[in-house]
């Protein structure tokens, strides 16, 4: 129905409205403040795998601006300015992402909890999911135990050759310069996610997949990202971090991104100095999470395609 440009089934519109109301009630009860931060900005992310939309005034009279790929940076600036716990229901925009799970414009529920540990935040995500969707205790698996169980390898120590061999046995994949993490993510997506239970958390990601989270040693002394993902119906639904507050480390990660961007021939971008300044001012220790509202609605409504829960998806 949605391929013809018709609006989504009225049921999914009503569902979206009632879920939004429920989410607001959830945060009001917990005294987490709703905020709105700009969708348009002068800078964009350095992440090599994210492509943002650049926008221009129709008459080209202004400098190009960018649509946000997530509200993270702006919200961290608010936290550094003393906002306390905050949440936002925001549109995010990512170019080049269109599939049954991706629409270039989508909705994130993103929130930050100063003083929470990663586990505290996982517990809160679990409370929200329990309220909306899934009434049982949500199991938590480490990245390593999933790879050991399903593919018989240790993701933190495996070599790129062994991964290439494992991939080749399971998937006919072609691509130049695929690194350890490219293979891990592909295997996770194609071979592990389809075998996950209906609802679970995955924790302790490889260091290289840490993005803006803290890296700390796990129980085996291996440095892992303080990061969790919530999976529902085999879909990545939420991504949570114990947030990196060290400005020096953050700048160094951004510069690493710039080097990789240059190597890959991607457009030059500038690092977000305003975020770094906020980190230098002092970001309180906090955990943060971004949850895909559209995919949450898909899980609730049993929809196969994201276009069925969006009023007018981009064709």
């Amino acid at each position: 129905m949605s391929d013809k440009g018709y609006p989504a089934l009225p049921d999914s519109l009503k569902l979206r409205a009632s879920v939004l109301a429920e989410i607001r009630r959830f945060f009001a009860e917990r005294e987490v403040m709703e905020v709105e931060t700009p969708l348009l900005g002068t800078s964009t992310v350095t992440d090599v795998h994210l492509q943002s939309f650049e926008v221009r005034a129709h008459d080209l009279s202004e400098i190009p601006l960018f649509l946000q790929t997530s509200p993270e940076y702006a919200m961290k600036r608010l936290l550094a300015a003393g906002s306390g716990p905050i949440y936002q229901i925001a549109k995010a925009f990512r170019s080049g992402e269109r599939s049954r799970l991706h629409n270039p414009e989508f909705t994130l529920i993103e929130w930050y909890r100063p003083g929470f540990s990663l586990t505290d935040l996982m517990d809160e995500v679990e409370q929200l999911i329990t309220r909306l969707l899934y009434r049982q205790k949500i199991p938590r698996y480490t990245y390593r135990e999933l790879f050991r169980k399903h593919l018989n390898l240790d993701p933190h120590t495996v070599t790129v050759q062994r991964l290439q061999q494992c991939s080749d046995e399971l998937i006919d994949v072609r691509g130049a310069d695929l690194d350890v993490n490219d293979y891990l993510q592909l295997l996770m997506d194609q071979k592990i996610e389809p075998r996950l239970p209906d609802c679970c958390f995955v924790i302790e990601y490889p260091e290289a997949q840490a993005a803006l989270s803290v890296v700390a040693p796990d129980s085996e002394g291996v440095p892992v990202a303080q990061r969790f993902e919530l999976y529902v119906d085999g879909m990545e639904l939420a991504n949570g971090y114990f947030e990196l507050t060290d400005a020096v480390e953050q700048r160094s990660r951004f510069e690493g991104d710039l080097v990789r961007r240059r190597q890959l021939g991607l457009p030059e971008v500038a690092v977000d100095e305003e975020l770094l300044a906020a980190l230098e001012e002092g970001l309180p220790s906090c955990a943060g999470v971004a949850l895909g509202l559209d995919r949450l609605l898909m899980a609730l409504g049993g929809n196969w395609d994201i276009r069925d829960v969006i009023s007018y998806p981009l064709s």
């Binding site: 080049g96 992402e97 799970l101 991706h102 006919d172 994949v173 993510q185 996770m188 194609q190």
Partner: protein, 190 residues
């Protein structure tokens, strides 16, 4: 020859993969939240009809294939090749070999139109329309009351195909046949 990058992949695109002309059937984007995107692509090999899959790192490209699917009129067979002519008024002819003709040879009738896939101007596949009308060249009279055959008998058509037909069908009758199943549909008045 031109090439297509993964972001240009779409159903129906004709490409060369491992040296074989293929049509893209499906293109699924695989993208983790914070990582490299891949395209999981389903292909149909246009030479042998086989459906197969490959996953590409996004940004990779494949060569475009010079493939055309056109209507052509069947002319004749010379024992080694089957000859077809373009219907666009150009009178251009191509010769299809046994590998390209495959099952279509059961349903050939002179001057009928067939779908031919040309790769670099050479025919690699011939498809008949869903229904053809062919004359019966051989069949038994089919005596009434003969129930041993369960109400049908074999009949050979002008193309060489043998189909199961009702007992009342005679030599010279023109039959409409479903080329996908080989089933008799009805008699056609000449």
């Amino acid at each position: 020859m031109a090439s297509y990058a993964t972001n240009e992949f779409k159903s129906g695109l004709k490409v060369l993969v491992d040296g074989e002309p293929c049509s893209i059937l499906e293109n699924e984007v695989v993208k983790p939240g914070k990582g490299q995107a891949f395209n999981r692509v389903k292909f149909r090999n246009l030479r042998n009809g086989r459906v197969w899959e490959r996953t590409f790192k996004s940004g990779e490209s494949v060569e475009a294939a010079d493939v055309m699917e056109i209507d052509m009129e069947y002319l004749y067979a010379d024992g080694e090749f089957w000859h077809f002519m373009k219907t666009d008024g150009s009178f251009e002819q191509v010769a299809a070999d046994a590998r390209a003709i495959t099952d279509a040879k059961d349903w050939l009738k002179e001057q009928d139109v067939y779908q031919v896939i040309l790769w670099n101007e050479a025919p690699i596949s011939v498809s008949p329309p869903n229904f053809v009308e062919l004359e019966v060249t051989e069949t038994d009279p089919g005596l009434k009351g003969d129930t041993a055959q369960g109400g049908t008998k074999p009949a050979t058509l002008s193309s060489g195909a043998v189909v199961k037909v009702p007992l009342f069908v005679n030599i010279g009758d023109v039959l409409r046949v479903d080329t996908r199943t080989g089933d008799y549909q009805n008699r056609v008045s000449k």
